[in-house]
Amino acid sequence: MALPNDTNPKLAEYAHPEKLVTSSWLAEHLDDPGLVVVESDEDILLYETGHIPGAVKVDWHTELNDPITRDYVDAEGFAALMSAKGIGREATVVFYGDKSNWWAAYALWVFSLFGHPDLRLLDGGRAKWEAEGRPMTTDAPGRPTADYPNVERDDARIRAFRNDVLAHLGKPLIDVRSPDEYTGKLLHMANYPQEGALRGGHIPGAKSVPWAKAANEDGTFKSRAELEALYGGEAGLSTSDDVVVYCRIGERSSHTWFALTHLLGYEKVRNYDGSWTEWGNSVRVPIEREADPG
């Protein structure tokens, strides 16, 4: 059975307040039987150094991806993962992680491909929970395995592939990478390793809205009014637009996908997870390098 929603007034302003919980709500409901807390981090050892009591770890690299093909796990793979983690189809899943929930949002987006009914994000993620001095433990969660049905992934709603993006050119695109990646000055994020894109720049027509603009200093999401000013005002989007978001492998853009879809109520936002590591290596796809969208 799904847990009650967080009725915090900041969350109540969002289009879908049920998709977000505050740290105080989570602390209050941590022992509720219908809840599973999932930690998903960029640093794959961070969970082992201490995590929210009872939280299970989902590793984006080893557990959500197919080991051979560049794709996510299939229905059987996802069911096996969920069973092993002790997550039933009816569970309320709350994700949190490091770096302003960047990877947590990515895991939530992948879970969304399988249509898991109740997925929420902990506003502020791991850093805020820790900063508030809330409990952390290295004890294994010890969840019993669960039964999870095989559910086919539904990519069409929220995932875009390269050919979808080619057909989408001229419609709204948001590039959430850093300005230097957008202009092609850098082939990768500043201070991050080169990930093997042969060409730099952005997809023609894409507007630059770096993902972190949606987050406050403490990792929480900005208010609805601030997000509307950012995406509706500056980027000129409207909620009925058909929007594609991308970054380099689809993780940062999951954060933006979450903000647009769940916090602002955009009706059709797809995440292009091939992102720059595919586009920047594809033969004969158009690329813009100027600072304006092209």
Binding site: I44, L45, Y192
Partner: protein, 147 residues
């Protein structure tokens, strides 16, 4: 491409990783993240003496010093909230600190691959670890060349 080509302390670490079940390798990496000694005061007071390693996904700074006996001392600064980065730094510290400059320079660049971590750790991170080794070796080479 043999493990024998590595200096003994590093070879032992690589062997331990390679012979462990995959699930235990991350535990091992976590243990190494806890073995990294704190920086001596002269580096704490002068962090600019440490070289940044931008290829790593978290802030990481390293200095390698060659002493009068041509022995290498390695100093690394990495945040506690980046245990994976600290783990690789801990491995290089445990495996290379106190060795001769020649031994450190002889470590092949594929050593991170030999640790059999590629199933658990994304290629990006392995590249970061390789970059850390590369910077240690470059600093050693500069000092040996100048001596």
């Amino acid at each position: 491409m043999t493990v024998e080509a590595l200096p003994e302390p590093l070879a032992e670490i690589v062997e331990t990783f390679a012979s462990s079940p995959p699930r235990d390798r991350l535990e091992l990496l976590l243990e190494y993240s806890q073995t990294l000694p704190p920086l001596p005061e002269r580096f704490r007071e002068h962090p600019e003496r440490l070289e940044p390693v931008p290829e790593c996904q978290s802030p990481l700074f390293v200095a390698a010093e060659v002493d009068g006996d041509r022995r290498v001392q390695i100093f690394v600064d990495a945040p506690q909230e980046a245990p994976t980065t600290r783990g690789f730094a801990g491995i290089f510290h445990a495996g290379l600190n106190g060795l001769s400059a020649e031994e450190v320079l002889g470590v092949p660049g594929d050593v991170t691959v030999r640790m059999s971590l590629s199933e658990a750790v994304s290629p990006l991170r392995l590249r970061g670890a390789t970059a850390l080794l590369g910077r240690i070796q470059r600093q050693v080479r500069e000092q040996v060349g100048a001596a």
